[in-house]
Symmetry: C2
Subunit: 704 residues, 2 copies
Amino acid sequence: MILSALLTSVGINLGLCLLFFTLYSILRKQPSNANVYAPRLVVKGKLQRNEFNFERILPSASWLRKAWETSEEELLSVSGLDAVIFMRIFIFSIKIFTFAMTIALILLPINYLGDQLTLADFDLPNKSLESFSISNVNDGSIRLWIHFSAAYIFTAFVCYLLYSEFSYISSKRITCFYSSEPKLHQFTVLVRSIPVSSGISYSESVENFFTEYYPSTYLSHVIVRRTNKLQKLISDADNLSRRLLHMKSRKSTRQKVGRASFLGRKVDLLDQYEKKLEFLVESVRMEQALITGQEVPAAFVSFKSRFGAAVALHIKQGANPTEWNTETAPEPQDVYWPFFSASFMRRWISNYVAVVACIVLTVLFFGPVLLVQSLTHLNQLETWFPFLKGILSMKLVSQVITGYLPSLVLQMFQYFVPPTMIMLSSIQGYIARSQIEKSACYKVLWFTVWNVFFVTVLSGSILYQTNVFLEIKKLPNVLAVAVPGQAEFFIAYVLTSGWTSTSSELFQLIQLIWSFIERNILGRSDDELEVPSVPYHREIPKILFFVLLGITYFFLAPLILPFILVYFCLGYIIFRNQLLNVYAPKYETNGKFWPIVHNLTIFSLVLMHIIAFGIFGLKKMPLASGFMIPLPVMTILFNNYCRRRFLPMFSSYAAECLIKKDKNDQNNPTMDAFYEKLVTAYRDPALSPIQITENIDGLSAPLL
Amino acid sequence: MILSALLTSVGINLGLCLLFFTLYSILRKQPSNANVYAPRLVVKGKLQRNEFNFERILPSASWLRKAWETSEEELLSVSGLDAVIFMRIFIFSIKIFTFAMTIALILLPINYLGDQLTLADFDLPNKSLESFSISNVNDGSIRLWIHFSAAYIFTAFVCYLLYSEFSYISSKRITCFYSSEPKLHQFTVLVRSIPVSSGISYSESVENFFTEYYPSTYLSHVIVRRTNKLQKLISDADNLSRRLLHMKSRKSTRQKVGRASFLGRKVDLLDQYEKKLEFLVESVRMEQALITGQEVPAAFVSFKSRFGAAVALHIKQGANPTEWNTETAPEPQDVYWPFFSASFMRRWISNYVAVVACIVLTVLFFGPVLLVQSLTHLNQLETWFPFLKGILSMKLVSQVITGYLPSLVLQMFQYFVPPTMIMLSSIQGYIARSQIEKSACYKVLWFTVWNVFFVTVLSGSILYQTNVFLEIKKLPNVLAVAVPGQAEFFIAYVLTSGWTSTSSELFQLIQLIWSFIERNILGRSDDELEVPSVPYHREIPKILFFVLLGITYFFLAPLILPFILVYFCLGYIIFRNQLLNVYAPKYETNGKFWPIVHNLTIFSLVLMHIIAFGIFGLKKMPLASGFMIPLPVMTILFNNYCRRRFLPMFSSYAAECLIKKDKNDQNNPTMDAFYEKLVTAYRDPALSPIQITENIDGLSAPLL
């Protein structure tokens, strides 16, 4: 790709970004779009619906100021620790790449002044971007030692940042723990594999066990029941009632406007639906009465103190290690109830199926990626489809195709990956939605790293062989040849998948269209509005992929850095705005997503070292290549230290913290009310009295 | 090797065994040998020293009856659970190989009736042993399906035995726990990485921490101090006092017999030594006073209940995961005190040094092994040393050399391995002697398996290549060719290293000579007698190696089985006798050695499956070869289940057991005395008042 193609791509994306920004700043002020752009505020009732004024149709940047000015404490109180830590990823990346930029200011002229790539003309717009990359530095040049030092200094800086960030977040985690209200899941453990005792039910068994061994701390328990049938019935009833509601509201509107002529058939249908609903509600009621017998050998056991729950959690309970297994209870709203309905065999099999499906999907996806890659090699496309020759020879078309289209297509493909991975994770046997999301996050991340990074890099090079990963010795050289060659593609990728896609996050096109359809065609009301939560499994891998790109390319092709930095700044401001207005947390993991960020950064660093090792070898600097080896070793040792130092703090709280917090609560007057709540908190929602909304007729009471 | 060479070897070893048995049965009745053959009874004072009678010089088998008649309960009460489990290895092996023998009765005629190895003559004494092995079965013969079924049936039987044995031992472990007296280490945890607090000592820090967070269960603590200097001084003083004692006793003897002429110089030396000892004792006293300042950030913290200790053990204590680390405390006499004197850096480095040294030793040992192996190929030896031709052509010499010498030499080499491995393990950073011994046990085991099994097997074959383990695909074929060829060598190995060496364990030649020297030349008295403990790190790998041999060879060359079975029967009766008379346990791990046995048996089974896979391939039975694959998979799944089902019971006790036991103790009147003992139990022995024995002068009081 030449510089002009890059500029075309920058132009297109910048235009799109500006368009999105402008549209957003106008559309967000229209009250009808509040459901899309500020559902949080709508639900909380914080949004005052002001009358029409002229300002409403002018673009403005007031939202920018508000997003900028919100402090971390405010964000914490509004959106929880997970959101704060999500924003820390941006801050962390901005810090890294600002530092990288200052190093790049030294590297860029050195690269440019080399003449390894003897170029015919010195015409800047047509000059290949490669002249800014390390490929342009002469072989064996003493200047390469500057690149060498850059790798060391940058690694040291990133490790220092990683350490301070990990330390900051884990201390934040403990601070939040100390300052938080009592949380239900802190007092509860999930007990599984309750042994069968003759003559008594699981529930009695649990009661006997814990009253005998934990008489002073045991509070209560809720046995889990198999409710898959019931869940199905309730969701049917819910759908039906919603449809009924919609029909009634239309009927009343039409009656108001006097169009009663075609109502005969409709009324019949309405009656029919109402009867069906009644039948369904009756079935639910019967099923709920019946289900009390279908116990699963699992129970949520609650204790009077956090420390009591921790003791039950960490000490093996039963003399037989396969019985009375305890694990941390998720928050009640985080429990993934379908897990308990599946039989052991089904869970066992679907776990394997999910793993295999995930691997197959990840590996086979390189087909589409290769197709996309062929677009960057126009001449190849011309030989395949000769009839395109005429169109492809046009300058603008060729620039759009090489500069913009490949990454757009790639991005479209990737759109379907996160939902697929969530689906795979959910059949893998996790008991909490947050665990499912975290697992999907890892899956999407490795999918992206493999398919977007490795396959793109290796397909672009002539050396592409699938078995390169089996010959570890050759890997550094192969990467050193292939990675710098793909710098232009990744710059374009940052522009499309980074800039534009993040701006479209602000604009929320799909939600906008959907909301329009809902309101005007389906006629749904605001009351059914569901506030979305941040799709971490989609966003975190996307952000981290740019971290990977930035770290691996920072000394190969520093020209990518400004684009990445702009992306992170955009993302920072946009996601702050979204967290304040759009997304509300569905559960709180207290920052359990951070280790993913840490791991990926360490992986990126080591990958960068491997590429550097290869590059210095290719550039005839065996000494520099050799001195590169201690760097990944030290990085991995550093990582091991961090894992030992911080990771245990993310899995559970220490006795010190738990006991302190318990002592503080002893004087808390609300604890009695809390204990009362605790007793019923972990009841399966399917067993609660069924709530059917019929508020058109003013009827919103529970039917049961 | 031909049958006659085997018979020679059997003759030699049987003769040696009988000789050892006879000598033992006479020598054990001589009161002067009681220190060698019954040190346990001597120390306990149970041995009545009867007068001379004629019976004393006649061999008798009364000890056999006694060893046989002792029940498992008696053994348990006398020697503890570890000894019982040590004996279970023999029982387990006898069960396995009795079953294998019944299968072998079917396999042997099948092997013998094949004619794959077309032998010139049918002269039984000269017939090669190979005609009894699977190599003799015709390629593609339908009879090989019998071998195939044998592998399946045998694996199923061994797995069944493994399961029931694991289950028996873990239930025994819990029974012993319930029936045991309160043990010091059950109430104690070792706390390491105590953080530095400004102004207060580690001891105060521990006191504050545990009184704050465990007010109801915390009892006391003993801070660990750096005592390496002191230990050195005490051992010096001890040696000197012993020498002094010896000199005094000689003096008094000589004075009694009236030889006072040469005493002038001696008396000077005696005075000199006495002064030196006084000085040393003074130094120890000063050092003991000084050392109170040199605290190490580690402490033994004792609790009022077992459950209290378990809570502190299993829950992370400090908010910073690298501080307040807890681990199970070993028994007081099991603590390896030098561990605490080593600095962190020294421990870290010596750990790596130990691992590397162990690997290097294991790998490089194949030099001597290859040398030994060359002995089995006489013609090669003749070409190397032509002058030996005359001697080697003698029939008896050649039979001795091929049949007996190689395994004898190998055994001599191996004699030095266990002490080396103990040495390596002790610098690796274990806090307990039992852990060191267990680690050394694993090291010796893999050393034996690698050097005696794999190197012997592969060196004997033409296909020997060091990199065969890097090409996993070829491994089954290489093993299938090589393993059956070494059957004769291993039969000889069972004879020497099994039969004779176990009988010599009974005879205790080295101890006998040493005791003779001590008594008659060094003139030591019985009071210094130290009862040895079973050298598990030497014996368990030896026994397990025969299990490996038996399992891998059972269907290849069933002729090895009777020899192995005889070995196990011998070992069973001899070690029972030794446990009753010679060895006393130094510490009790409650059967933590059993998982080693389990793991090795699983390894042997899988190895057998791999060889079978290769053999059936070579014998042109691709179907049988293919159907062999599920067997190792199922075995490994079975192993995983066992690890989940039983292994956690070997690392710690469950809450259920701990609380039950604690409740039982509440009515125990001796608990107060026990708590008093607990407070000081974990004091470093180097800090106790120094005990110098000077009982010749009637002076045996502590000097401090």
